[in-house]
Symmetry: C3
Subunit: 136 residues, 3 copies
């Protein structure tokens, strides 16, 4: 039987509940929904990188990346990115930040597919991102 | 060619439309969005397990589990659980119910990754859950 | 290493941003969120097929299908379809259109699992659809 491995980067808390920040089984790697929380500091509550869409988007992407790397994957392996925004008016700015971010990643494979929808999130959070990767 | 198998537990209706409650193909098993409807009774319309978040969450999880089992899978095989709530204020209570539920499942593998977002659902429904599993 | 292939049907623009309309890697094919935009015409902005749910649903399904076909897949390979609507009152009509559409596809395998939730979308758009397929 193929083992399912929990992915818990050093930047993340030990999951406070019965979920994993990411899991890998065989060639499939799934990253849980990441918001713009700064790297965990012992004894501190989860804290957003800042109030702006830019700060939270870049932090959420960094949080996804940390989980990918914990599983031996890179953005090149990512098939699907789901972006949850709270406000339709944030779409253009998110796209700009997203594009600039991925320009800098020097992908060697085509970028992931993506779906963006507008939902509710807990107060203060403007974006949540999850990702599905296929390795190998 | 690998066969795609429809998963239709005895607790569920024959799908009333052109979708499957779950499908399995090779090692991939996908569970459709499950709400808190009680096991189907011939001639009765779909009926929520109750008006509370607790009743609906536990029933939705049971409905997901029935489809997993129909496909020869268990919660241990689940990579991703998507939780759709209608109210941000339900998050803490859902987490509590979710954690207690999975404590009782005696998982032998790490728990699934998870994304929770807040959306609209048909009147009376407070939660919808779907799941992606990798078997073997 | 298995190559990740971008799927860009002739009906679609070259992606204007760092995402792919669809990607295929090994047996996994992921279609990005498709809305009811008509096939791209050089120099014209993205234009919905019409203001109605029927027009937009059929066009979004056609757009998903174009990406599947670009990757050598058919609806028979699709495991999961995610339907995002903006209005709970659209559910019955969407189901009717969806069922009639898939009746006409002459599937030889069980239909995909599905999750439908109600979210915000950019002004004028009533539906978004994405899909996960497993080939072979």
């Amino acid at each position: 039987m193929t083992e399912k491995i929990a992915l818990t980067p050093k930047t993340h808390t030990v999951p406070p509940a019965k979920f994993s920040h990411g899991v890998k089984k065989g060639t499939i790697l799934q990253v849980a929904g990441q918001v713009g929380f700064l790297p965990h500091e012992e004894g501190k509550p989860p804290t957003p990188a800042g109030p702006t869409l830019r700060e939270q988007t870049l932090q959420a992407l960094a949080n996804v990346q940390a989980i990918l790397e914990e599983g031996g994957a890179t953005w090149d392996d990512v098939m699907m990115i789901r972006v949850y925004l709270t406000d339709v008016d944030h779409f253009a700015e998110m796209n700009e930040i997203y594009n600039a971010y991925f320009e800098e990643q020097n992908l060697t494979q085509p970028p992931a597919a993506r779906t963006t929808v507008y939902v509710g999130l807990p107060p203060g959070l403007l974006i949540e991102i999850d990702a599905l990767a296929v390795l190998g």
